[in-house]
């Protein structure tokens, strides 16, 4: 039933796309078929894989750093309340800020390199990852802490057995949100600044009026982020089996 519905929605989407390409909204709006053939061509020539590898490097660096720094810092914010109360002001600001506005600053400091797109990816996703870890600790039920303490839990045991597992659902939700933000940051960075990866492929195709190739690259990016998010969702399902 679900599969049938999903297939139906995909068919409807493709039909709408085809219609949009025929009723010329703009003369360079490619049909789904043209996009798919361009996609296959791009995969075949290796250009797409090459670009993906470059992009995924920045993504892994930026997102990885956000997880490795953000999650522990968020946990510390939750456990040591004064730190949390101060740091959350800055995080709120970072979340409210149109992050792309920081890009010129990043280029000034890091130059035009893979590293600078990684830094932008980090800036895009780290506040969300951190805030969720913080929220996970804050939402913890104090009654469970009391219970564990009544059994003589040490601080280390409290953290490992109560704080961390009860924050885990929020942390994982933060990782998913963070990962989608990371893809956003990656493409923004590559479009606006560094001539690397998928963003560059999109810009190059656009300047050559190869709109089918451009669309194919966008579609590919969508597939990549979809696959990454699905992977995370699976991990989440496995770690949170107790909720089923």
């Amino acid at each position: 039933m679900v599969i049938a519905l999903r297939t139906a929605s995909l068919v409807v989407f493709l039909l709408l796309w085809e219609w949009a390409a025929r009723v010329p909204i703009s003369f360079n709006f490619p049909t789904p078929w043209a996009t798919f053939t361009a996609l296959i061509e791009l995969v075949w020539s290796g250009a797409l894989l090459q670009a993906s590898l470059t992009s995924l490097q920045s993504l892994a660096l930026g997102f990885g750093a956000a997880v490795l720094l953000g999650v522990p810092f968020g946990l510390v914010m939750g456990v040591v309340r004064p730190i949390g109360r101060v740091a959350r002001i800055y995080l709120d600001l970072l979340i409210a800020l149109p992050t792309a506005a920081l890009i010129p600053l990043v280029i000034l400091s890091f130059g035009i390199s893979i590293l600078s797109s990684a830094v932008i990816v980090f800036v895009f996703c780290a506040p969300f990852v951190t805030m969720n870890a913080y929220g996970g600790v804050r939402d913890m039920r104090p009654r469970l802490v009391e219970m564990a303490r009544s059994f003589g839990a040490s601080w280390g045991q409290l953290f490992a057995r109560i704080v961390l597992p009860s924050a885990l659902p929020m942390i994982l939700a933060g990782l998913r949100l963070g990962l989608s933000r990371a893809f956003l940051g990656l493409i923004v960075a590559e479009l606006l600044l560094s001539p690397f990866g998928l963003g560059r492929l999109i810009m190059d195709s656009r300047s050559m009026f190869e709109h089918d190739r451009m669309f194919a690259t966008v579609l590919w990016t969508l597939l990549l982020s979809g696959a990454a998010l699905a992977g995370l969702a699976r991990l989440e399902g496995r770690l949170l089996r107790w909720r089923m």
């Binding site: 469970l144 303490r149 009544s150 040490s154 109560i162 597992p165 107790w242």
Partner: protein
Amino acid sequence: MSAPAPIEVAGLRKVYRQTTTGEAVTAIQQLDFRIEPGEVVAIVGQTGCGKSTFFDILIGLEAPTAGSIEIGGRTPYGDFDGFRGRIATVFQQDRLLPWRSALDNVRLGLEMLGLPEAQQVERSREWLARLGLGDFLQAYPHELSGGMRQRVAIARAFAVQPGILLADEAFGHLDEVTASQLRDEFVGLARANGATAVLITHQLEEAIGIGNRILVFGKPATLLADVRLDGYGADDTALLREAIQATLQTNRIDPRLLQ
């Protein structure tokens, strides 16, 4: 079981400062009594009379404002190492960890004791089986009924083999049949293991059904009556109720305090 020690309460007083208004609230006015090893004691009093605060101090989660509680000559507050495995509590709600199976929930206290893993598992299995949950070792709390969850909590408390067992209105939220059944099991197991048991309840009838001694708390907590039930039979409920009312009256205390 770790050897039960006497509980000595002397001049105990607890005043809270309310976080919102800054107003001082007296939870415990004055408490003085002694509970002997192996006694089964029911503490009865109105809701909000400071019974739970008394437990928090007894467990060592809170410091008294004045006076002291000593268990075997030691003060529980902050002394988690000294009291690990000596006191265990069954709380008002089951307070199970939702991400752990029944078996792993029972193991929690044993992990704190640092027992070898095989021994933790064996002892947890044993206690769950004794409480009739042998077939639900791997069940998560949300898959169990309220009564079953409270059984897991009881198993968790008994598994550490403490000398002192506490129950804080532990059966109040269950239906009458399940509640009295679990209460009897709790008291029976405590007696069989020679442990001291202290149960908090807000119903006099329930208190009479429980143990050898009833402590009646006023509000804020003071000791209104200390009644020993030895010598009374199970059918003497009415008689006991009268006796307690009489005790309250001779102390010029309004019996309606117990409604």
